[in-house]
């Protein structure tokens, strides 16, 4: 394995882990409500920008990070309460427009609360690159990979072992049946937005020291996260993680070996190519439409 290949792989994994966190957010909300939340990218922005402000105000990371995540989660809960819940039963297009409206609103708000500039966040633990097999990796990238792995494990424990997680899973399979066995479906919906927003914020805080952050950082990240979720198959947790990593690696490889001008287009070329042959993504539910 050449050093160059190794370098692209490590970079791709880091970016892919961020996409995976976003895709997980998309999938959790989709499972609970069948809504695609186009404001998912804004949670990334809120997490990153809030962490920048809080640390600039002198707070230590141990305090600033949980506060930034909590801020994004609150925005997520508010989004569900005031925009998604009142529009229950609306068509897919209507819900898409509502969440896009919400993302424009949040971006406009961020522009007022903060500004239009790019902001750096200090890396968690220094910025001396570590050498691995001829390539180098930033300590922050290790944070990204480690935290993402921890979150994936925590989520699989949450959905597989806890009552609340199982309730959320049950709601995604059959809403009516879940309601009949006494699951508070509305609460599940509400919480799913909070959980997704928290995941988005974590992604935003993790990536901010590497790529900087600004009020409009969520636009492209949100679309890529959606692409990752679709690539893996909507609603599949494993699909979201695989989809994110595949997109991240493919993007970095093609930027390195082919053309960096089309780096942002690669994700969409891949998604179109996959959907042409596998109309429900890599791990999506197969089978026909119910008549």
């Amino acid at each position: 394995m050449s050093a160059q290949f190794m370098q692209y792989l490590l970079t791709g994994l880091t970016v892919g882990a961020i996409y995976a966190l976003l895709a997980l957010g998309f999938s959790i909300i989709f499972n609970a409500s069948h809504v695609i939340n186009f404001a998912q990218g804004e949670f990334v922005m809120i997490g990153g920008m809030a962490a920048v402000s809080l640390t600039a105000a002198g707070l230590p990371y141990l305090l600033a990070v949980p506060l930034a995540i909590a801020a994004a989660a609150l925005v997520g809960l508010a989004l569900e309460k005031f925009a998604v819940e009142p529009a229950r039963g609306a068509s897919v297009v209507t819900l898409i427009i509502i969440t896009i409206g919400a993302s424009i609103f949040l971006r406009g708000l961020a522009m007022l609360v903060w500004d239009k500039n790019l902001h750096p966040l200090k890396p968690f633990t220094g910025d001396t690159p570590i050498a691995i097999g001829g390539a180098t990796i930033l300590p922050q990238s290790l944070w990204v990979l480690g935290v993402t792995l921890a979150i994936v494990l925590a989520l699989s424990w949450f959905f597989g072992r806890t009552l609340l997680g199982k309730a959320m899973l049950a709601t995604s399979h059959n809403r009516l049946a879940a309601e009949l066995v006494g699951i508070n479906v509305r609460m599940v919906l509400f919480l799913s937005f909070g959980l997704s927003a928290a995941l988005g914020a974590i992604a935003g805080i993790l990536i901010a020291p590497i790529t900087l952050t600004s009020y409009d950082v969520g636009v492209m990240l949100g679309l890529k996260g959606f692409a990752a979720a679709i690539l893996g198959g909507l609603g599949s947790g494993m699909g979201a993680v695989v989809g994110g990593l595949v997109l991240g690696i493919a993007e970095t490889m093609s930027a390195g070996y082919l053309s960096s001008a089309y780096k942002d287009a690669i994700a969409f070329v891949i998604i179109l190519a996959v959907l042409f042959f596998m109309p429900s993504g890599l791990f999506g539910k197969r089978g026909g439409e119910r008549v």
Partner: protein, 325 residues
């Protein structure tokens, strides 16, 4: 005769024609004409897009791509290669139709959010090609376009363009209404309610969907070509994802499956940003809030919601005047 006039089809067309003829009395300067022309061009795109979204029930989050291909195709052929604008526009339209036909079949097999993703991806790829291939397109800086001319005659001035766009909008609405009333249109509505059901009664769902996809792409492309020649300049902004969203919002805001709703939606959402400039820094927030608010409170769109309200009032009035109830 009177009954025919009062039908939504003929009556609506007449009302639209009257609105187009009477509007210039309110347009006191060329700025207002400019906005009216933009409304008309957006309305043409929306009437086509509404066939796809409102009648066939298929989402497209990438129609700005077709609009952009129309604009840039005309601009490049006419301005860089000196083609006559009419020939450039026709060639571009045919090319866009061919592209829509080619990608239509695999893309329209997808459903719901997967279709949304695929059309979104298509739009973004077109956008990136246009911003990156700056040798042809001028990249992010855009490209200036020669005025539209037929033979020796050059089309100039807002007033002339107003009448051309107005006439084309009327023609587009007439085409759309005819299509909806034709067997093809009924087939589209059938597959909107149930694709399997439509196939059972012998409708080739895939073919119908591709047909309406191509038609909507052609409407967008023609509007794009005209917009390029009218404004004399093209920039990637009109090809961006956000413009696709604006177009879909216009259709849904006006009312899905309502051709006149699409025109109303285009009119309101094209003029709204002009009005919102008074909010200065808050402009973006207000726009987002308006998008959310109208979709939450009028999920069926303005025109169908108003129609329903009128219907209810009429029923209410009828039951009051009837002494037996």
């Amino acid at each position: 005769m009177l009954q025919r006039l009062a039908s939504p089809r003929t009556g609506g067309l007449l009302a639209l024609a009257a609105a187009i003829v009477l509007l210039p009395f309110l347009l006191s300067n060329s700025y207002f004409y400019d906005i009216a022309i933009l409304v008309g061009l957006n309305a043409i795109v929306c009437v086509g897009l509404n066939l796809l979204i409102g009648y066939a029930g298929q989402i497209s989050l990438g129609h700005a791509g077709f609009f952009g291909l129309g604009a840039y195709g005309s601009a490049i052929l006419a301005s860089r290669y000196g083609w006559p604008p009419l020939a450039a526009m026709l060639t571009t339209t045919l090319a866009v139709a061919a592209l829509a036909f080619l990608v239509g079949r695999p893309i329209l097999r997808l459903k719901g959010h997967y279709l949304a993703m695929a059309t979104l991806g298509l739009g973004i790829i077109i956008f990136m090609v246009i911003t990156t291939e700056d040798k042809f397109t001028g990249g992010p800086d855009g490209l200036s376009v020669v005025p539209f001319s037929i033979g020796e005659y050059t089309l100039r001035g807002e007033r002339l363009w107003y009448w051309i766009v107005g006439a084309l909008l009327l023609f587009a609405v007439w085409l759309a209404l005819n299509l909806i009333e034709s067997p093809a249109g009924r087939a589209l509505r059938a597959l909107h309610s149930s694709e399997v059901g439509a196939e059972v009664v012998g409708i080739d769902a895939a073919r119908q969907k591709v047909m309406v996809f191509v038609i909507s792409a052609v409407f967008a492309s023609v509007a794009g070509s005209l917009a390029a020649h009218y404004s004399g300049f093209v920039t990637p902004g009109k090809v961006a994802f956000f413009h696709s969203i604006e177009l879909v919002t216009m259709v849904v805001f006006g009312g899905m499956a309502s051709t006149f709703g699409a025109v109303v939606g285009a009119a309101v959402l094209t003029t709204l940003p002009q009005l919102l400039t008074v909010f200065k820094d808050y402009e973006m927030m207000v726009f987002g809030a308006v998008m959310m608010g109208t979709m939450i409170f009028l999920p069926r769109g303005v025109v169908p919601s108003l129609g329903r309200l009128l219907e209810l009032r009429r029923q209410g009035a009828a039951s009051r005047s009837d002494p037996r109830t």
